[in-house]
Homo-oligomer: 354 residues x 2
C-alpha cells in the first residue's frame, strides 16, 4: 500500500447530496474523515466531519477547503472548470480531470467512445438551425436533441419525431451548444459499475438492468437478463474506458442492449445511482470501492452474493415509508427535508430470494 | 407506525466511541440526525450531526443536549444515575432505566436472571473479608471476584484459585462492593443479539460463538457450533429477558454452553461487539435494528444470509491493515487516533464460503 492515504486523513468531497453522504459513510468505515464542499443544502454533512457552504466561484473558500483535505473527489461531474483549476493546484483530484472533461460534454464523450472503437448512437454536433438540418438529414428521425453540458435526469433534452419538430426542439434548448443523437432500438438498458485503483487494477460489479420512468431511474435489478457473453462484453467495455482515461475511482457506464450487441449510452465519472444495489448485494459496495481507489488501497471484493432489486424513492414515494419499513427490505434515506416531485429521497434494496 | 420518530428528527447518543459511531451511521441511513454526548475523544462525531463535549456531571450541558434531541440512547451501560435522572425529565431514554439499573450492577443482574428462572454461575455478594470467606465456603474454588459495577473487558476482576488467594483478590478491588462467582465449566461461549420494538415485537439474530484472549473478545463466528435445540434455547432466553425488562432496542446476551445446557453469563443493554458480524451477514444489522426499535419502526429482517467470522483489530493489529485490505474482507475502522494496547481499533468481517 504505497501512496496509501494515512489513517485519519481527510477526503474532500465536492457536492453534499446523497452520493456524497454515502461516500462519507464509506470513508469513515475505512478510518477517514470527510469535508463536504456544497453551495446549497447538504444532507451529506450529517455524516461528515466538516462542511463548507460556499459557491464554486468563492476562491477563498475553495483554497481553504483544499488546504484542509488530503485528496479531493466529487459526487457530480459538472464542477466548474475554474474551481477545479484552483483545487488541483493544491491537492490531487480523483478521478482526474480528463474523465471530468470528457463526461462534462456529450460531444467530447461520444467522440471519446467512438475513438475507442466502441459503439454509440449516431451523433452530430448542433450549433444552429443549419447544422441541425444537416444532422437530421444524416441521422434521420426519430432523434433526440440534447445540450452538450449540464443535462441530467432527462433535463435539457427534446425529442424530434419528425423534421417539423426541429425548430421547437432547438428553441427549447435556448441556444446552448447541442448534440443530435439518433435513437437506438434497444431491448434493455444495463449499467456496469467499474472501478480502477491507483495501481491500475480494474474491477467491475455485475451489470444491473435499469428501468426508467419520466427520464429518472426507477429500478436496477441484478443480475441483468443478458447472456454471459454480453455480461462479459459489458465489463470489458467498462475496463477499456477506465484504462483509456487512466481513471482512479468508480465509474458508472450505461449501455443499451441491442440486437447488434452493446451500445454505450453515457458514463458518469463517479458512483452511480444504478450501483446502489451493491450496498446489500456485495461485501464491498461501490462507495467503499471508490474510497479504496482514491485512497490508494487495493480494490475490494465486489463479488455479488445475492440477487437484488434496487428501487428509487422519488418525491411522494417517501409516503410509502411505513409499508416499506414493515417489509423485509433495506431502506436507505437521504435526510432531505422536503419531498419535491422528481426528487430522489432514498432507495430500497430487496434481496430477491429464489 | 404510530409513535414513529419523524424523518429528520435527532437521536441523542450518550458515548462517542465506535458503537456510537456505527449507531450514528445507521440512524442517518434511516433519515435521522444524531447528536453525540461524550466527555472525551469522540470518533463518533465524524459521522454525527452534532457533538457536545462535556462531563456527565455538567447539568447545563446535559439539559441543552436533551432539549436538542427527540429520543436518547447510549452506547455504554455505565452512564451515571444523576445524569440519567436529568435527561429523562426531558426526553425518553431507550432502552429504559430498568435495563440500565439491572445491568450496571452484577449482583442485581444475577438476581434478575435467577428470578426469571435462568441458570447463572453460583454467586454471592461480597462486602468484606468476612462475607468473602462465607461466599468461598459456599461456592468453593476456583472462583472469580468481580466489582459489582464498572467492570468491562476483564477489568475489576481477580481470580481465586485457592482460599489463600482471597486477601490479595479482595485488596485488588480496593474496597469496591463485589460479587463472588463460581467457575462455570463451559465448552464454548455464545452471544445472542436480541431486539425488542416499541410494539413489543421481539427478533433475535442467529447466535454467534465467541473467542476471547486476555479478557477481550477476539472473534465471533456464526453459526455457533451448537445444536438446533440449544440455538432455540438461546433465542428463547434472550426473548424472555427482553420481555421481562419491557425492553426497547438491541441487547447483547452472553451465554455459556455447558453439559447441562445454557448458563447466562451477562447481558449488555446496547449493541454489542459480538454482533458486529451482522453488518456483513444480514440485510439489517444490529445497529439499524437498534435505531428501528428506539425510533418506533417495525423491527427489520435480521435473517442471516451468510456464514461470517468477525475478528477484532486490537492495538497493534491495526498494523496488519495493508494485508487485510488486500484480502477479500470487509474492514470497519473506528477512526481512533492512537493504537494503545488492548484498544479496539476496528474489526474485520469475513464471509466464510463453503
Amino acid at each position: 500500500m504505497t501512496e496509501t492515504l494515512a489513517q485519519g486523513a481527510t477526503i474532500g468531497i465536492l457536492g453534499g447530496g446523497q452520493l456524497g453522504r454515502m461516500l462519507s459513510v464509506a470513508a469513515a468505515r475505512l478510518g477517514y474523515r470527510t469535508h463536504i464542499f456544497e453551495p446549497g443544502a447538504a444532507p451529506a454533512a450529517d455524516v461528515a466531519h466538516a462542511l463548507t457552504t460556499a459557491p464554486y466561484d468563492d476562491a477563498k473558500a475553495l483554497a481553504a477547503f483544499a488546504a484542509s483535505v488530503d485528496v479531493i473527489t466529487y459526487e457530480f461531474e459538472n464542477v466548474p472548470t475554474a474551481a477545479l483549476d484552483l483545487l488541483e493546484a493544491t491537492r490531487p483530484i480523483r478521478p482526474g480531470r480528463r474523465a471530468l472533461a470528457t463526461s462534462q460534454d456529450r460531444l467530447t464523450e461520444k467522440t471519446f467512445l467512438q475513438d475507442l472503437g466502441l459503439a454509440t448512437a449516431p451523433f452530430a454536433a448542433v450549433e444552429d438551425a443549419a447544422s441541425l438540418a444537416i444532422a437530421l438529414d444524416e441521422i434521420g428521425t426519430p432523434a433526440i436533441l440534447k445540450t452538450r453540458r449540464l443535462g441530467y435526469d432527462g433535463k435539457g433534452q427534446a425529442r424530434i419525431m419528425a423534421p417539423d419538430d426541429a425548430p421547437n426542439a432547438l428553441a427549447s434548448l435556448k441556444g446552448a451548444p447541442a448534440i443530435l443523437e439518433g435513437f437506438v432500438p434497444f431491448r434493455a438498458e444495463i449499467s456496469v459499475i467499474g472501478a480502477r485503483g491507483l495501481d491500475g487494477a480494474v474491477a467491475c460489479f455485475d451489470p444491473g438492468e435499469n428501468l426508467h420512468r419520466d427520464g429518472i431511474l426507477r429500478t436496477t435489478t441484478v443480475p441483468a437478463r443478458i447472456s454471459a457473453a454480453l455480461r462479459s462484453d459489458a465489463v470489458l467495455i467498462a475496463a477499456r474506458m477506465l484504462n483509456a482515461l487512466d481513471y482512479v475511482g468508480v465509474m458508472g457506464v450505461e449501455l443499451f442492449v441491442t440486437p447488434d450487441g452493446l451500445v454505450v449510452n453515457e458514463f458518469a465519472p463517479r458512483v452511480h445511482n444504478s450501483g446502489h444495489w451493491t450496498q446489500n448485494g456485495c461485501l464491498i459496495d461501490q462507495f467503499e470501492q471508490h474510497i479504496r481507489a482514491i485512497a490508494g488501497w487495493p480494490l475490494g471484493d465486489g463479488t455479488r452474493l445475492a440477487d437484488v432489486q434496487m428501487e428509487n424513492l422519488i418525491g411522494d414515494d417517501i409516503a410509502r415509508l411505513p409499508e416499506l419499513a414493515a417489509e423485509g427490505a433495506a431502506i436507505h434515506l437521504y435526510g432531505k427535508a422536503e419531498a419535491r416531485p422528481g426528487r430522489k429521497m432514498g432507495h430500497v434494496n430487496r434481496i430477491v430470494r429464489p
